[in-house]
């Protein structure tokens, strides 16, 4: 019994010193992306430092985040995601994923890998909390009508039991405001950015979802559904939490 407790303590201290979500050497960027192990991820997120908003704002400047993600964290084009109002745990985890070398699904990810290389975990927490503190992106004009709209609202609220699809809202919130842990807010994201992300999960190019949650979901969507879902979430306004 005592041995077991020691072992547990040992594992705990190990995970505190170097949480399971360890970075790879920077030279190893071409390595095969890994999926997170859920327990490791939980421990890592639990150890996320408290962010300093002023430092976060300064890093947003000096790391040139605004070039793609917009000066106020609202992306000026559909190529990149908006970060304003995003859940800090998601931003923090994403930055770690880039640094671990687990995301090179597209040209965006390759660029991010360059930007995060020298960031400390404190830096990541600072920018994550800074973005979380900004007003979320505004809602785009609704683009869905008629049958498509009804179908997508059904998917979001009720899922599709026939395809074993859980409702999007059960994790991402009733109004796309994000959920527990690292589950991101989707409201107000641009159509292009969200659709690209779903396609990356669908094709398996992106593998950084715990328990393959998003891959299993996206693989059962049609390309038309992905496009419509992206339009749906773009038209929602992110609520402050």
């Amino acid at each position: 019994m005592r041995r077991v407790r020691l072992l547990v303590l040992g594992m705990l201290s190990l995970s505190l010193a170097a949480p399971g979500y360890a970075s790879r050497p920077a030279t190893d960027s071409a390595a095969t992306p890994r999926s997170p192990v859920a327990a490791e991820l939980r421990a890592t997120l639990a150890a996320q430092p408290r962010g300093d908003l002023q430092r976060g704002k300064a890093l947003h400047q000096s790391l040139m985040c605004a070039a793609c993600h917009g000066e106020t964290g609202v992306a000026p084009t559909g190529n990149w995601s908006s970060l304003a109002g995003q859940r800090a745990a998601y931003t923090y985890k994403s930055l770690l994923d880039y640094q671990r070398g687990d995301r090179h699904e597209d040209d965006r990810a390759n660029l991010m890998a360059v930007v995060v290389r020298d960031m400390t975990r404190q830096d990541m927490a600072d920018v994550a909390d800074y973005y979380a503190s900004l007003p979320p992106p505004p809602a785009a004009a609704p683009k869905l009508t008629g049958e498509t709209r009804r179908h997508i609202e059904q998917l979001v609220r009720r899922g599709d039991p026939a395809r074993l699809l859980t409702p999007c809202a059960s994790c991402h919130g009733a109004s796309g405001q994000g959920g527990n842990n690292e589950t991101p807010a989707l409201a107000g994201q641009s159509v292009g950015s969200l659709a690209q992300t779903l396609h990356d999960y669908r094709s398996g190019r992106r593998v950084t979802d715990a328990n393959q949650g998003m891959r299993q979901f996206a693989q059962r969507l049609t390309p038309d559904e992905i496009e419509a879902l992206a339009k749906y979430y773009a038209s929602l306004s992110g609520k402050r939490r």
Binding site: L63, M64, C68, E71, T77, N79, D107, L111
Partner: protein
């Protein structure tokens, strides 16, 4: 003599300095780069195309597509780059080559591209 010369204003001791100031203002405006011959919005926008795509239309994600960008967004970015308020790899250098009214003209051009 026109009615202006008889007005109380023209008799004011401030009239001569004011006239001089107005003349200087006109001359300065004429001489400042903003008032010098200005390339068209399209001509200036074409210098961006090597990175930002022909007419600002770009299929790649590393650089920002400029076609259809809101005028205010474009102007704020360029003015901030020029003032050094926004970090960049080289956009600060490039923005330095354009006056306010030229940035306005480029903004109108890109906003008009469908």
């Amino acid at each position: 003599m026109g009615p202006l010369m008889k007005s109380p204003f023209t008799r004011s001791p401030l009239f001569k300095p004011l006239l001089l100031a107005a003349a200087i203002a006109v001359l300065t405006a004429w001489l400042t780069p903003a008032q010098a011959a200005q390339p068209t919005g399209a001509a200036m926008a074409h210098t961006c195309a090597g990175c930002h795509g022909t007419q600002g239309k770009l299929g790649r994600v590393e650089f920002v597509p400029l076609a259809g960008m809101a005028e205010t967004e474009f102007k704020r970015a360029m003015l901030d780059f020029r003032a050094g308020k926004r970090a960049s790899t080289l956009m600060g250098h490039v923005a330095n080559g354009f006056s306010d009214s030229e940035i306005d003209a480029m903004a109108r051009y890109f906003a008009s591209v469908k």
